[in-house]
Amino acid sequence: MEFKVEIGPQFEGERVRKDDLYIEFGGPKVRSKGELVTVREMDEIEHDKITILGPDIPDLEEGGSYQIGTLVEVAGAELDKDMEPVFERKIHIYSNYIEGFMHLGQRNDIWMRVSKDAVKKGLTTLKEVGKVLSYLYTSELPIIEKVAITYITDPQKLEEFISTCLAVYKERDERVRGMTEESVDEFYGCTLCQSFAPTHVCIITPERIGLCGAISWFDGRAASRIDPLGPFFPVEKGELLDENLVVYSGVNDVVDERSMGESSVYSLHSIFENPHTSCGCFEGIAFYIPEVDGIGILSRNFNGESVIGVPFSTMAGELSGGKQIEGYLGIGIEYLRSPKFLQAEGGLRRIVWMPREIKERVKDDIPEDIFDKIATEEDAKDIDALIEFLNRVEHPVMSGEFA
């Protein structure tokens, strides 16, 4: 294929500077913008058809910032709807292969620039950009048999398009929230923190966010594809060896290798048996309180002493460093919302104490009948007060009925 400008990964990350800018679509100055990939039936689209709805580059003033929508429709015998977000990210990657063209962001947060040089070389219409995308979609992804691309700049059509986009994004988010470990083939590993905890390996699953609270299964997948030699990598699940503790053979193999033999069995959802190790910069800590046979939660933001008399910093010092320590677990706070949260120990029903701020944050995911039975710093400042509180509210740990 011949294009007006050069195409290739060497242009990735190339910034079109303001001095070189011919025209800008989306970005911080523009409210209406968005992009979407939709999987269609084979007979629903015409391959290689590029459509511009509304004004194109020649109709717009040089140097301006304009609203835009990008719709990529794909079809192929093997395609299914779940692949849409993966294909959608390719808009970003492929657009950046174009010399003199910049693409940033995702969803309804996109920013595109065309350089003066690119326009001089003939990139004078969005059709040309569409042609490149169409070519790359089918040549790089053989699973895609047909592709049609539409750029929407007409204000009214764009509003309609963006409301469709928002509905789709919402639906996808719901789907991501509902994802389980059983529903995926691979998890992701992260060794970003090995610079100061050389034997720590984070295993990130749809039901277990990274300990820093930042990296979800989705982010792990995206990052491991960007840089296969980087700190993020896919982890084949392998065989489920223990259903209760959630031990996978594939996870064990990877952890053994990446922790340099420090840990060889990893329970994904237990604080007692072969627990996940902790880096040093986790968002929170789950800790066992033997006096009540319950588990407490402490967060980095919590000032003062926990119910067992030590502040976050002291406790963090004890469990940091990539060693498996029974009864202690570094966690991302969002893990508290996971249906598998410490399932081996009874999950949220085993929690006896947590800072009020955290309790408020995860409120919606704490079962109603247990919510008032979990103490905060306002209910108990030490173990004696905690025992009294738990007895009064008849917390399940006091009768041992938390399973």
């Binding site: 990735e12 995702q106 990052a223």
Partner: protein, 250 residues
């Protein structure tokens, strides 16, 4: 890769002035765009080169960390943060500026910093020249921006103490494992002839003095009046000294 010059030194020695004049020099003599990085939270390179700074990398990373729990689960956080970091860049004629801003707060910055490093690496590709105004600890060089420099200019005033500090910074570059091709000393507000004790101290610290910059009263006037130093006229003594310096370097 961009040709990268970093400037470091104790506060008040003229470090930011030197950075600003390096930018002015490149702007006047080359068609190539320059990336200016203000990596000293106590300095204000932006203001000194005439740009209004209203956001910083530090504030953006912190905001990102606050937003994390509320971001929709299907949003790829790497791309999201990359987009936000791009908004911090201030674009001007031939010069773009990034202000690193305040230091990070509590909690884990491994992931945001990793994204920042990726961003900085990609960004550097678009600029033939990069000028970094550093804080004395050079933390940004070791962890966030780049570990490879073509030139590091250590700026000192005309005192033995200032020169000793510069020597300490040179030692720090070894500790931080920075890859630096050449390290030079620049003495600002220098008298016509340097005191023998200073020359002795320079040798003792193993530093190579590349340039002295004379006292230039206009600089103070400009700062007081809020006029960008990049507007200093070509016959200004400091501007002439920077030209000499750059001719030796480039």
């Amino acid at each position: 890769m961009s040709y990268t010059i970093a400037v470091a030194g104790k506060g008040g020695t003229g470090k930011t002035t030197v950075s600003a004049l390096l930018i002015q020099y490149l702007k006047n003599r080359s068609a190539a765009p320059i990336l200016a990085i203000d990596a000293d939270p106590t300095a204000n390179l932006g203001e000194v080169i005439g740009l209004t700074v209203d956001s910083s990398i530090g504030a953006t990373l912190e905001k990102f960390r606050e937003e994390l729990p509320r971001l929709p689960p299907g949003v790829i956080k790497n791309d999201y943060l990359q987009a936000r970091l791009n908004e911090v860049l201030i674009e001007d004629e031939k010069v773009d500026l990034i202000t690193m801003g305040r230091k990070e707060g509590a909690g884990c910055y491994c992931y945001p910093n990793q994204i920042l490093r990726e961003y900085m690496t990609l960004l550097a590709k678009s600029y033939p020249y990069m000028i970094i105004d550093n804080e004395a600890g050079m933390e940004h060089l070791s962890r966030k921006t780049t570990q490879k420099l073509d030139v590091l200019l250590l700026v000192s005033d005309a005192t033995t103490r200032g020169v000793r500090t510069a020597g300490g910074l040179k030692a720090l570059t070894v500790e931080l494992n920075l890859e630096i091709k050449r390290i030079y000393l620049v003495i600002c507000r220098a008298p016509k002839e340097l005191n023998a004790r200073i020359i002795e101290e320079i040798e003792k610290q193993g530093l190579e003095l590349i340039q002295t910059i004379p006292e230039d009263y206009r600089i103070l006037d400009y700062i007081i009046e809020g006029i960008p130093l990049t507007n200093l006229p070509g016959d200004s003594p400091a501007v002439i000294a920077i030209s000499d310096l750059m001719e030796k370097i480039l």
